[in-house]
């Protein structure tokens, strides 16, 4: 591979990792293209941080291969991989000034002092840290520390930036601000980045490509909107999107070329779906995002009915929790306008954007694609 034009910056091939006989990563293969921002997302314990540490070289895989910029680095020293990492805790050296923190890696490399100084100055400029260079980490705010941590990574001019939940120690407003800043830097530096987070908002907003991990396996890889529109399975459907997608249990009544017809406790519901296969009588899960459920207008019959049990007014939008008649399980959530006229204990009829509904079979895999999203593609993602 060496010498050729390499388009993939990071390539994992069937990477596995176990700690004390416990499998944490159960075989992950992945390509990260040059200049891409790839976000690993998943619940805690899904292995996303471990995977990042394997790429960083802080841990070595039990089996499999890791390539960075075309070189096999599976067992290379972390500093010899062309990667730089931004840690969740920032991991700044408390006894060094900001300038020394940023310069540290270059000093270890043994670069001449003048060159180090110039590079540190440039990085400080980019991150607006120039006036803080003489300070120690203790005297910095959370956001400033975060920027130093990023500066420490940038100064090394790595092939790949690794971010390990870099924003989770910041408060909410600063987190939003830093998120924008990281996105801006990523574009500006034309850098390849791998970013780990448990926050799906960060994943949606930052990623060119999201990798959803669960229990050491990749559930789906794709562009943010692609995962949102075409979740490959129930796990991804539940994980991406907030509030979560509503999942209703039903049975397949019949399936034709154009629609899958469901038997629900509230009667028959036909979900338009081209070319979907579903065995009659099989259990099936109907997935409806909160914004695809609406209160039926007066006189309109609607698809479902139930009672409002709780209303959360966030100002710009309103979440209504509705218990559907005859359905088991949790109430469904509706995302309504901020001024929506609903009240507690109200009986409501609901309409469903049937063209945006999702179907999942007994194994949890998606059944066909919602018609509204069928021909939309976004980015280079693919369903695995």
């Amino acid at each position: 591979m060496r010498g050729n034009v390499v388009t993939n910056s990071v390539k994992l091939t069937d990477v596995k990792k176990s700690f004390n006989g416990h499998d944490v990563i159960k075989g992950v293969s992945l390509d990260v293209q040059k200049g891409e921002m790839v976000v690993f997302v998943g619940p805690s314990g899904c292995g996303k941080s471990t995977l990042l540490r394997l790429i960083a070289g802080l841990d070595t895989p039990t089996s499999g291969q890791i390539e960075i910029a075309g070189n096999d680095v599976t067992y290379a020293h972390p500093s010899k991989r062309g990667v730089a990492m931004v840690f969740q805790s920032y991991a700044l050296y408390p006894h060094m000034t900001v300038a020394d923190n940023i310069a540290f890696a270059l000093k270890i490399q043994g670069l001449p002092k003048a060159e180090i100084d110039a590079k540190v100055r440039d990085v400080a400029e980019v991150l607006q840290l120039t006036h803080l260079l003489k300070r120690r980490p203790k005297a910095l705010s959370g956001g400033q520390r975060q920027r130093v941590a990023i500066g420490r990574a940038i100064v090394r001019e790595p092939d790949v930036f690794l971010f390990d939940e870099p924003l989770s120690n910041l408060d909410a407003s600063l987190r939003g601000q830093m998120r924008v800043e990281i996105a801006r830097l990523h574009t500006k530096l034309n850098a390849t980045s791998v970013y780990v987070t448990h926050d799906q908002v960060e994943a949606m907003t930052l990623a060119d490509k999201i990798v959803v991990l669960n229990a050491g396996r990749i559930e789906q890889i794709g562009a943010p909107m692609e995962l949102y529109r075409k979740p490959a399975n129930l796990f991804v459907a539940g994980f991406i999107g907030s509030p979560r997608m509503n999942i209703l249990g039903a049975k397949v009544r019949s399936s034709s070329g154009e629609a899958v017809t469901l038997d629900t406790p509230q009667g028959v519901l036909a979900i338009p779906r081209t070319g979907a296969q579903a065995a009659t009588g099989a259990s099936i899960s109907l997935g409806i995002r909160p914004e695809n459920l609406h209160v039926a207008a007066a006189g309109e019959e609607g698809h479902l009915s139930g009672y409002v049990i709780l209303i959360e007014r966030l100002g710009g939008e309103t979440f209504a929790y509705v218990t559907l008649k005859g359905f088991d399980g949790e109430p469904v959530i509706l995302k309504l306008d901020g001024e929506a006229q609903v009240h507690n204990h109200q009986e409501v009829r609901l309409t469903v954007d049937l063209n945006r509904a999702h179907l999942f079979d007994e194994a949890g895999l998606a059944v066909g694609v919602s018609p509204d999203f069928a021909d939309k593609t976004d980015g280079s993602g693919h369903v695995q």
Partner: protein, 300 residues
């Protein structure tokens, strides 16, 4: 990096070498010596194997029995008194008052200096016939006591030197007290528990890990006391302050009986081992650990 066993082993190698050379080997050698009649001035090769004769000999050695009794008396008096006093003062100190730091310093200082020859020398003068204490008593019209010349009072003087050094135990207690969350007391206040009840029901149980630590350290140190009695009383009068470490030293370096001295040191070791073993064994019945202690695992 931290899972590299080879590099890790390299870092602990000095300890392993030091342990083998300066601890494990002498430890075993000392036991072997204790089964011989080795003498300091002779070649080791000249020593005869005498079996357990050194140990059985102790039964008939009245000096040993005296020394053993004195050692137990010294430990049993100093350790509880010192711990109780350290705890009492720590509780008094654990209060937001002006100048509390100054008192802590004053109480801690003696335990830093107390082991030194200089302090032992001062102690000898304080308890001397015309020393500080007798002068003080004299000014009150009380006749002087021959502190270092009477068995009971000689022991008293070296016991007092140890009690004087209660500061280190106190500092540990104080840190333990400060680690007890304030809201426990506030909750107890709301429950109507009296101060006394709070001490017995909250403070003491939560302090047991620290008490355990102090107890072990004090036992181990008290059994090894040497400087004080050696310099102040030289073990006298009538061997009334002749602690085992003094006897071990004198048997070896004054009477040159290496074999017997080694046997004595093994007796001391076994006594300390029994005490610490019992303490560790019993801790599950009385030591209360508020949180699970972090497991003994670093790195990945």
């Amino acid at each position: 990096m931290y899972n590299n066993k080879l590099i890790g082993s390299l870092y602990v190698t000095p300890f392993v070498i030091g342990f083998l050379l300066f601890t494990a080997f002498p430890f075993v050698a000392s036991f072997i010596l204790s089964l011989t009649d080795a003498r300091l001035q002779d070649q080791l090769g000249a020593a005869q194997f005498t079996g357990v004769a050194n140990y059985t000999g102790m039964v008939a050695d009245s000096t040993f029995q005296k020394s053993l009794g004195v050692t137990f008396a010294y430990v049993f008096i100093t350790v509880p008194l010192k711990l109780a006093f350290a705890l009492f003062i720590a509780v008094v100190l654990n209060f937001k008052l002006r100048g509390i730091g100054l008192f802590r310093t004053a109480f801690y200082l003696p335990s830093i200096l107390g082991g030194s020859v200089a302090i032992a020398v001062v102690w000898r003068f304080v308890f001397a016939g015309d020393g500080l204490i007798n002068q003080g008593l004299g000014s009150l019209g009380i006749g002087g006591v021959n502190w270092l010349g009477e068995p009971t009072t000689a022991m008293f003087s070296i016991v007092l030197l140890r009690l004087w050094q209660f500061g280190s135990a106190m500092v540990v207690f104080l840190a333990g007290l400060k680690a007890i969350p304030e809201d426990l007391y506030e909750a107890a206040d709301l429950d109507g528990a009296s101060r006394m009840k709070q001490f017995w029901m909250i403070t003491l149980p939560l302090l047991t890990p620290v008490l355990f630590f102090n107890f072990i350290m004090q036992i181990v140190q008290a059994f090894q006391e040497f400087n004080g009695p050696y310099i102040i009383t030289a073990g006298g009068p009538l061997k009334s302050s002749y602690l085992l470490p003094l006897m071990i030293y004198e048997e070896a370096f004054k009477y040159f009986n290496l074999g017997y001295s080694s046997a004595l040191s093994w007796v001391l070791f076994i006594i300390i081992a029994i005490f610490t073993a019992v303490a560790f064994w019993s801790q599950k019945h009385w030591v209360f650990y508020a949180q699970d202690r972090g497991d003994d695992k670093g790195g990945h």
